[in-house]
């Protein structure tokens, strides 16, 4: 095992990726800002929230998988660890990008942004005041949780947790690169155990806060888990595409065989099934219960043309990827895996649209073009950060004891 200090790996494709991300960020965000003046501030913040929620899938799932692979080990883990670190390291920036959402929710600031109403219905002044004509007892019942101050404070707590985990895991991992210090591996494992528990709780509540509360009367306890699993599926797909870009590097040629790629393919299969399970479980419980307080969410998503998305998701997010991914050949051939991954990422976008956008647009025809500009811009920004972070360290953590997983018989 190498214990020498490792230098960052130069990959021209990553430089190109950084430029692509930057261009996408510029185009998307300029269009979004233009939309603020053309379409209006209301649509700007709605699209921004949608884009932010969609983009957050990537750094969050990177952090989750990073901790998971520290705990489980495995060939796939060391293969993608540097990518996971690079993706999660964007979390502090993502925290700053939350500020517009906080301002659009807060009662003393939303008006100065040009909004007539706060971004969330529950933040509207008067909805929890029994003497107001806007009074809504359903929201008043949830008032201890859904207040602007607590909402913003929780977001700060989430980002503090995620940022500290990402920064600590990255700095210990780089320390291992420099010194070959074997104690780092143990420290990272210990932190990941605690971190993963905090992660699951915080992401669940973040999903509740950010998009489930757009319909403040509705609730689903599986909503946060659905977000985590979906994000995991999208991130695994993203990783398999990134591997096509770095496969030709010397360090990958030497250490990475077909096995870790096959493993990522297996994980994608499992997460495809898990996505289906989460989506179905949420639906069947509400459908079978048939209770007036939980069915409207699905009614909104099957009326006004939104029903058209349902068969697309059934086929495109379950049947097609599942039957393609159960083939061993498709999982082992990186080209096929990356094509399936592209389909999955497109479907992720459609699914998140179907989950979030009906809260703003009762009819699918009303969906604004800005809902495309925001995710393009924000994902582009994240991609730039990802590619730049990935080039700052060696592409594989060669000093890690888990590197043994990549070699014959090492996994016993």
């Amino acid at each position: 095992m190498a214990t020498t200090s490792l230098a960052p790996t130069r990959v021209p494709q990553l430089g190109r990726l950084q430029t692509i991300g930057l261009v996408a960020a510029a185009i998307g965000l300029v269009l979004l800002v233009a939309g603020y003046f053309i379409v209006g501030p209301e649509q700007f913040f709605r699209s921004y929230l949608f884009g932010f929620y969609f983009t957050m899938s990537l750094p969050l799932a990177c952090l989750g998988f990073l901790m998971l692979q520290h705990l489980t080990g495995g060939a796939w883990g060391v293969t993608v660890r540097r990518m996971l670190e690079a993706g999660a390291l964007a979390l502090p920036v993502m925290g700053l990008l939350f500020i517009p959402i906080a301002l659009a929710t807060y009662p003393t600031t939303y008006q100065s942004l040009g909004l007539a109403q706060p971004l969330y219905e529950w933040a509207t002044p008067g909805v929890i005041d029994p003497s107001s004509p806007l009074f809504d007892p359903g929201i008043a019942h949830k008032a201890p949780w859904l207040t602007p101050t607590f909402y913003v404070a929780r977001a700060v707590i989430y980002f503090v947790i995620w940022t500290s985990l990402a920064l600590m895991l990255r700095s210990w991992s780089l320390d291992q690169d420099r010194t070959g210090n074997q104690a780092s591996a143990k420290r990272m494992r210990m932190l990941s155990g605690i971190g993963l528990a905090l992660f699951v709780i915080s992401v669940t509540f973040a999903a509740f806060d950010w998009t489930m509360s757009l319909d403040p009367h509705w609730f689903s306890s599986i909503y946060g888990a659905h977000y985590m699993i979906s994000s995991g599926l999208m991130t695994l797909s993203f990783l398999s595409i990134i591997i096509t870009q770095v496969r030709q590097t010397e360090i990958f040629e030497e250490h990475v065989s077909t096995k870790p790629i096959h493993d990522i393919g297996k994980l994608m299969t499992a997460f495809t099934v898990l996505w289906t399970y989460m989506s179905y479980a949420q639906y069947v419980i509400i459908w079978a219960g048939d209770v007036a307080e939980s069915t409207p969410w699905y009614v909104h998503r099957t009326q006004g043309g939104w029903i058209a998305i349902v068969p697309i998701l059934m086929v495109g997010q379950f049947f097609l990827p599942f039957f393609l991914l159960i083939s061993r050949k498709n999982k082992r051939r990186l080209g096929s895996l990356a094509s399936i991954a592209t389909l999955i990422i497109v479907m992720r976008f459609i699914d998140v649209s179907w989950i979030v956008l009906p809260a703003f647009h009762a009819n699918i025809a009303e969906v604004s073009w800005m809902n495309l500009a925001a995710p393009v811009g924000l994902v582009g920004l994240w991609l730039t950060l990802f590619a730049s972070n990935l080039q700052r360290a060696a592409l594989l953590p060669l000093n890690d004891p888990n590197m043994e997983w990549l070699h014959v018989g090492g996994h016993h």
Binding site: V284, A288, I326, S327, G409, H412
Partner: protein, 181 residues
């Protein structure tokens, strides 16, 4: 080419998983397909070299899974819509009731796929097998302790008693022996 069925095959013993893997790779590159490896623990990379392109098991599992899932669904449909239509909580007595039928459909699919995997595997590999010629090789019992074996079987079209032994000797094994039937 000599008559191949005089012996079961030729077996070489190796001292490490890496040399076994090297040998398996070379045997595959030389065109041998009917071979098997024996080691104290599973070595995935070796499996990839010695495994046939298509074991037949995946297809059996897929067919069993699909048959299981569809029969699970059809059984429920017959019961609910034809034989005993019954109003349960006002839910439809029609195909629009499908969400309620998914758990059983899924379970039946998994059950049949698992049966297909286990019994299909047993049918194709011939287990349980009370007698196997490879145990005639000296020291073979060490395959479950610390030795690594590669056996090229006489059913392989390229098999030749002399030349295959020669080939295996060239892979720097600890020993090469013929395996009697």
């Amino acid at each position: 080419m000599q008559a191949s069925n005089e012996i079961y095959g030729v077996m070489a013993e190796f001292d490490s998983p890496n040399s076994l893997l090297e040998a398996a790779k070379k045997a595959r590159a030389a065109g041998y397909r009917k071979m098997d490896a024996y080691s104290p623990f599973p070595i995935e990379e070796v499996c990839e070299e010695i495994m046939p392109e298509d074991t037949g098991v995946p297809r059996i599992v897929l067919i069993c899974g699909l048959l299981g899932a569809s029969s699970g669904f059809i059984f429920q449909a017959i019961g609910e819509f034809l034989d005993y239509p019954y109003n349960i909580g006002g839910r439809p007595i029609a195909i629009t009731n499908w969400p309620a039928m998914i758990p059983i459909t899924f379970e039946c699919g998994i059950l049949c796929a698992a049966f297909g995997a286990v019994f299909g595997m047993l049918a194709l590999n011939g287990l349980p097998m009370p007698y196997h010629p490879v145990f005639n090789v000296p020291r073979f019992e060490r395959a479950s302790q610390d030795a690594f074996f590669l056996c090229i079987e006489s059913v392989d079209p390229l098999f030749d008693r002399g030349r295959t032994s020669q080939f295996l000797r060239g892979l720097s094994p600890l020993q090469v022996s013929e395996v009697a039937h």
